[in-house]
Subunit: 338 residues, 4 copies
């Protein structure tokens, strides 16, 4: 399999090779021999374990889906609790905590696919760390759908509280004294200019990717097995230091997915028009920011394998758009037959 | 011993085999030879060290009892401090801290038995990780009694403060401006419907078990020796993100045990009737939620030994209720004679 | 040296053997050969490195002194900042943070002597972990003096702020609206009975020692190299859950040392008489509490070398007060001649 | 290279040797063979990879620059968010969090050069840990410029918020009800005397260096790979315990760099004159404090290679100012030819 080798990407120290499961289970070397007994497959296992094959094939999708779902469960959950309780069950710092924990646990859940949880992070991994390009749409779709699932569960969980806070079942407002749309996605502070919004998201995304690459760099100090914990601190920090102006979406899936859900729920057209049609900024700026942040790290610090460390800073990939140049996995289809 | 092999369960990286103590102590290879001297047993040690044998036999019970007692000491302690001081010695975030630390320290204390501290977690380990079924009642009883002991100690410690806050010795109220019953167990927010209460506990319990299995999965990133620390963040997160509506009991022992204690203390029948006889929801929902959360993880991500990874997702255990099928330890009584 | 073998005590995973320094420095195998050059002693090193010998001899004293000084610097420092700024530069939770960090850093600083920082912890280590009894007074003295030094530095640092808050240089009050004596040591909440005060300190000290032994037990999960971090959480938890009623002194050195300093500074006789001559409770209760907490852990969980795991739970030490029985190091003076 | 051997300095467990990059990339032993393919340099690599050579040569500069930039991005960022939002998006504790995370992430980013981020820390490393003296100006310059870059980015990011808070574009005040100069650098509390200011910065810097050396001492407990996390707690603790009176600059680069930026932006002469020309104190006191704190640790605890552990406590370096005595790298230019 040529695609299963992204092991050195950002959040994974070691990905155990995905075993073929029924073989593993019959393995007599398994540590807890006793426990394995009730798991020993009976006769027709070959035919029956179809699900393990499907899961193995879809592992990236499931992993990113559930990881991003966990991200949004905690992330939107904490905003819901703080907003709907009128600040009595949490404050701004709780939100920093909640989102930090959300990313930390999301990465633990989605570790098998790298725990990107963010299309912009996947893009940066494709650009600079050899993540296969053809996986980008799979990851992005899984992340988007996972975010939508998480937002829907949060809404279901807090439905009574939404009704109580908004003053009636079915009333859902984006602006005004009892606005609750901010539970799902980000809206900018009122004094922001368009340029300021874009710059703020761009800076926060750059810092995100720059620090992720620093934490994952084995030639630097490197976070090692503390990676998810360090991501907690990173997200907490971005929330505490750059989170006010635009709400630090820094993630298309995190913002657009729940925004779609809030539109479906009945918040109306204002989810798109609020803040001067702000909604497209957290869809675009994170990609540019993460690409720039990763570029900065690779140019000035990273010494491992990166296009930046090839002739002309890897720019011939842009200038000679042949598959053999831009594809991260091109030659492997020919050579990895051993 | 066939039951001492649950080592790969959730919160234990490595359980050292429980040594026969007096042998260990006489061992000349012990590192601190000097210190061992004052411990060298005198002549009749074989007869005298009866307690070590009893402790060894009851280790699971003692371990879960003391672990859950620690859990409730810190958990109910922090609520007592916040409530009885009128919010001047802590706020809602302190409660998140307190419960997170409570679980973390409880797991460290109760590590020898796996640090479940929660009958629903024990159930999920029986269902999916081969924990012996016959240990379930022992664990559940130890957890319940431990929770009651912890609640009683907290009450003893804060008795003067209860009297000062309620306005008199012996006055104990479940509702009203000086209600203190919330120190012991959870009561739902007033706007909640019955369905909402159940769903909220179910969702929180599902997330709990789903994340525990993710953190403990060695084929995923895995928390490794950071497990208790990660549980701190997990519980903090559940408290900050899903803790408002029903108080995130997610644990029969944590809720029913202290509720019994509060009934004994003299809070009256209202501890049962409050919230529309809410008390049964945190007794039932956590089991269903943890079973579902564990199922979700095993179906979509887990590749290690689990009934889900046997033919028909392990459902023949339900359909063929023979001991050889549903027992986690059945065949071992025959085969582990080597 | 027979006393240098307390390595398995609570907060130290591995204490590197204290090397004879000038030998080590001349060692050609040292990793950074280049850096060692400027350190190579010149001719008369044997005579000149007297200080290294003194330091080696006094290592326990220096280590506990500086560790406890660090403890009080951060601990009293945070209370000073919160109290003197009128709550604008911190709140009750800051105090939990400050004391947690204080213990964590104090243990890192005082690691060479075990990082006890507390006479009651030293006592429990003597009772249950073979710490040499004759070191107890050395440790206790170092801890007391270190605490006094820390309190004096905090006072020097915040002198202007004391004057500004109390309303004039030299005015120092123990009670009243601008009381600042609580910066140095603990005073009980006004509603507490004498029994309640004692019980509260006793319970908190028991929990402290019980959890320390759990965290340090290599046969349990064990905190390993996370020990100082876990102590942060433990102290934070005790502060958040049991810190209101008496201020969780749980340490003679931490309370009596700064109290002496505050008496010297000019707070007057009230530092002793306040709270019904409360001052003796944090001097006595921690010893009893720590002894009880350690006893509890060893009886019900600990399986390593402990007097509890000897015949008759080690009680013959109490009944036969001969040196060969109660001394932790007695026989070593005879036998360790190899 | 004689200067690349500072590996045992404070924040680095292991610095991987900086490889010559194009060699590494063509290495067939690279783990992810497949990914390496798109990185294989084409023909003229030798000529083209000039940038890798430049980066290698300037690694210390880039590393300290970007590390200190990260420090100020988060550190000034959190103050900006708290001040400009009027305390609604954070409070004093957020500032402790922000600066703690800032140092933690800054050290991860700047790990290749040791992550000093502070000229006073570099000085202490030169004095006591054999850091090459000639690197001191390079480090200090990189730190100063990095701090200025970080402050400029924070200003750009929050420009709209500055205007909204100050009441108009271009209005920038150092004192008064809408003063915002505190976002960039520190100003003392109004009640402080000159001596108090100096003493406060001196004490905080001493504690900083004393604790850094304790955390980095492999003969003590040692933070190991938890070093950046422990620095988070250390900085948080200094902020919570000693941060009120002067704002805990404890770093020339952190204070003077952003102060220069604020002067350029248009805050006027008052950035220098405020607090009785306070600005020079955080430029001088940290050097003295860090030198003293490091001295204290080496005298009383450190047993590894340090001038303190040479004859006469290393003071002959002061008395015999010959290059062979004071230079940390002198003899290496002669001897390291092997």
């Amino acid at each position: 399999m040529s695609e299963s080798a992204e092991a050195s990407e950002f959040s994974i120290d070691k990905i155990a090779p995905i075993p073929i499961h029924h073989t593993n289970m019959g393995n007599p070397n398994i540590q807890d021999a006793e426990r394995a007994i009730f798991l020993t497959p009976s006769l027709e296992e070959e035919e029956l374990l179809a699900w393990s094959k499907i899961r193995n094939y879809c592992q990236d999708f499931f992993s990113e889906f559930l990881g991003t779902m966990t991200l949004i469960l905690f992330g939107d959950g904490v905003v819901a609790q703080v907003v709907l309780s009128g600040g009595t069950k949490g404050d701004y710092q709780s939100i920093s905590w909640g989102w930090g924990i959300a990313v930390m646990l999301g990465v633990y859940v989605g570790g098998k696919s790298g725990g990107h949880l963010n299309p912009a992070v996947t893009l940066a991994n494709c650009l600079y760390r050899g993540h296969p390009w053809r996986k980008l749409p799979v990851y992005a779709l899984a992340q988007l759908l996972g975010a939508m699932a998480g937002a829907a569960i949060v809404y279901g969980n807090y439905k009574s509280a939404f009704d109580a806070f908004e003053g009636g079942a079915g009333i859902r407002t984006v602006t005004g004294p009892t606005a609750t749309a901010g539970v799902f996605c980000t809206y900018p502070a009122p004094f922001m200019t368009r340029t300021g919004m874009f710059f703020s998201e761009f800076v926060a995304s750059s810092i995100l990717m720059f620090c992720i690459f620093a934490l994952a760099d084995p030639n630097n100090i490197g976070a090692g097995n503390l990676m998810p914990l360090c991501l907690f601190f990173l997200i907490f920090g971005i929330g505490a230091c750059f989170g006010w102006e635009t709400g630090y979406a820094i993630n298309l899936a995190r913002d657009f997915g729940p925004r779609l859900v809030s539109y479906m729920i009945g918040y109306g057209h204002e989810v798109w028009s609020a803040g001067g049609y702000y909604f497209w900024i957290p869809m675009v700026a994170p990609f540019l920011g993460c690409a720039f942040g990763g570029f900065l790290y690779d140019v000035f610090i990273f010494t491992g394998p990166s296009p930046i460390n090839t002739p002309m800073l890897g720019l011939q990939r842009l200038m000679r758009p042949r598959r053999s140049v831009w594809s991260n996995t091109h030659q492997s289809t020919i050579e990895t037959k051993v």
